[in-house]
């Protein structure tokens, strides 16, 4: 379950490489997303990419290290989101 994060905080958090805002925005019905929500997604993905590039430049092997797993993907099939408390 993800809690709603104020937009101004969300963009800051995403730009710094955090994934809470990204997960929260992605869990919402996209029809209702504002332009700033899209910015949060793009900023978060870019920040993650930058972090991996920095780590690799420092000699740390991160390829395939499960950063994607930190994003709560839906795991229970065939139930409406409401029943799952999302």
């Amino acid at each position: 379950m993800t809690a709603e994060i104020p937009q101004s905080d969300a963009l800051k958090e995403a730009s710094e490489g955090g994934q809470n805002s990204l997960a929260e925005v992605m869990s919402r019905d996209p029809e209702g997303l504002a332009d700033q929500d899209i910015e949060v997604i793009v900023a978060s993905l870019r920040a993650q990419r930058g972090r991996i590039a920095q780590a690799e430049a420092a000699g740390v092997k991160v390829r395939g290290a499960g950063t994607a797993n930190k994003v709560p993907l839906t795991t229970v099939a065939d139930k409406p989101a409401g029943e799952l408390g999302l």
Partner: protein, 334 residues
């Protein structure tokens, strides 16, 4: 011969088992295994359960296509990218269940798709040296449908064979024309990956078409590989060219393959039932190529071919759904 109106316009009205408009998917299916071609293209069977790889690839192509449309319409990189991200979020949202698409795959899912698309367009979108061709009608040459007379003719019906398909995009680089294409994979983008696309049935067709569909003959294919990992996406670009002799070789071989497809269609045609359509005996006109059963991720019809011919029809009807694979249906209508 009596004319009949087939559901699939790529098949002959004179011999309904004969495909006269052939795309790289159909040709590749027959080359892989004639029986696979019969089930998948002639009869139109496909698994009821979606293929994650197919869905992922189609959505990736859909994003790239829309991005180039927006850019050609005057959008900047950020604006076009945001449009694509929003489109992708909507496409991967299950309205009925009010929840995101669940691929069940740790590599290819909604999150890794978004990440791969944003990373790809950031790398190759904004400062790409490739410039999308603008067609005479003012539209960008994206998802470009093509069809041309192959020069080969059916010996049974006398109809010309049409070669057809859809190019992702037509672009220029330093005044030369190229066909860009995108491939997503879990595999490393190494020599083995690139070698698997050269020679290629699909790219042979594209490069042959590329000599005819534009005022400038294309110089080659520029293939962008996108490797999708659990935690990151990687990209690489590769040029594939063919000289005149290689294209001639592909063209001659295509004529030979069309002859084989016609021989199968002719034999299957004798097994046609006027009331019920194809009978089970028609499948014997399309021999199995057992050496293909386990290639790639394994053939989707392996569970059918492993059963007795007496029960295959029932298993197909129970486990698969039908669709019409008609390569003459045009795209590029965004």
């Amino acid at each position: 011969m009596t004319e009949v109106t087939p559901i699939n316009t790529s098949f002959s009205k004179l011999l309904p088992t004969l495909q006269i408009a052939v795309d790289s998917t159909s040709l590749g299916a027959y080359k892989t295994c004639p029986r696979y071609y019969f089930y998948n293209i002639v009869q139109g069977f496909q698994p009821k359960q979606e293929s994650v790889h197919l869905t992922f690839g189609l959505l990736m192509h859909g994003c790239v296509e829309r991005y180039h449309h927006r850019k050609a319409a005057g959008d900047g990189h950020e604006s076009a990218l945001h449009f694509v991200v929003r489109w992708l979020l909507v496409q991967t949202w299950n309205k009925d269940l009010r929840r995101p698409w669940d691929s069940g795959d740790s590599y290819k899912n909604r999150y890794t798709l978004l990440r791969t698309v944003v990373g790809y367009l950031d790398k190759y979108g904004e400062h790409d040296a490739l410039e999308t061709v603008i067609l005479a009608n003012g539209k960008p040459a994206v998802e470009l449908s093509f069809s041309f007379n192959s020069g080969f003719t059916s010996r049974i019906t006398g109809e010309p064979y049409i070669l057809c398909g859809h190019l992702d995009r037509l672009a220029t680089l330093n005044s030369d024309a190229y066909i860009p294409d995108v491939k997503t994979t879990k595999s490393e983008l190494n020599a083995r990956f690139w070698n698997s696309h050269n020679p290629s049935n699909q790219f042979g067709m594209y490069l042959t078409a590329g000599q005819l569909v534009y005022s400038l003959p294309v110089k080659g294919l520029i293939v962008d590989g996108a490797q999708v990992l659990v935690g990151d996406s990687r990209y690489d670009r590769h040029l594939i060219t063919k000289d005149k002799f290689q294209l001639d070789e592909w063209y001659k071989a295509t004529g030979q393959w069309l002859e084989r497809m016609e021989a199968s269609a002719e034999e299957a045609g004798y097994a046609l039932d006027a009331v019920t359509g194809l009978t089970k005996s028609a499948e014997s006109a399309y021999p199995m190529n057992e050496t293909s059963c386990s290639k790639y991720n394994g053939c989707e019809f392996q569970s059918i071919c492993s059963r007795s011919p007496t029960s295959r029809k029932q298993w197909l009807e129970a486990g698969f759904k039908r669709r019409v694979w008609d390569p003459l249906q045009r795209r590029g209508d965004i």
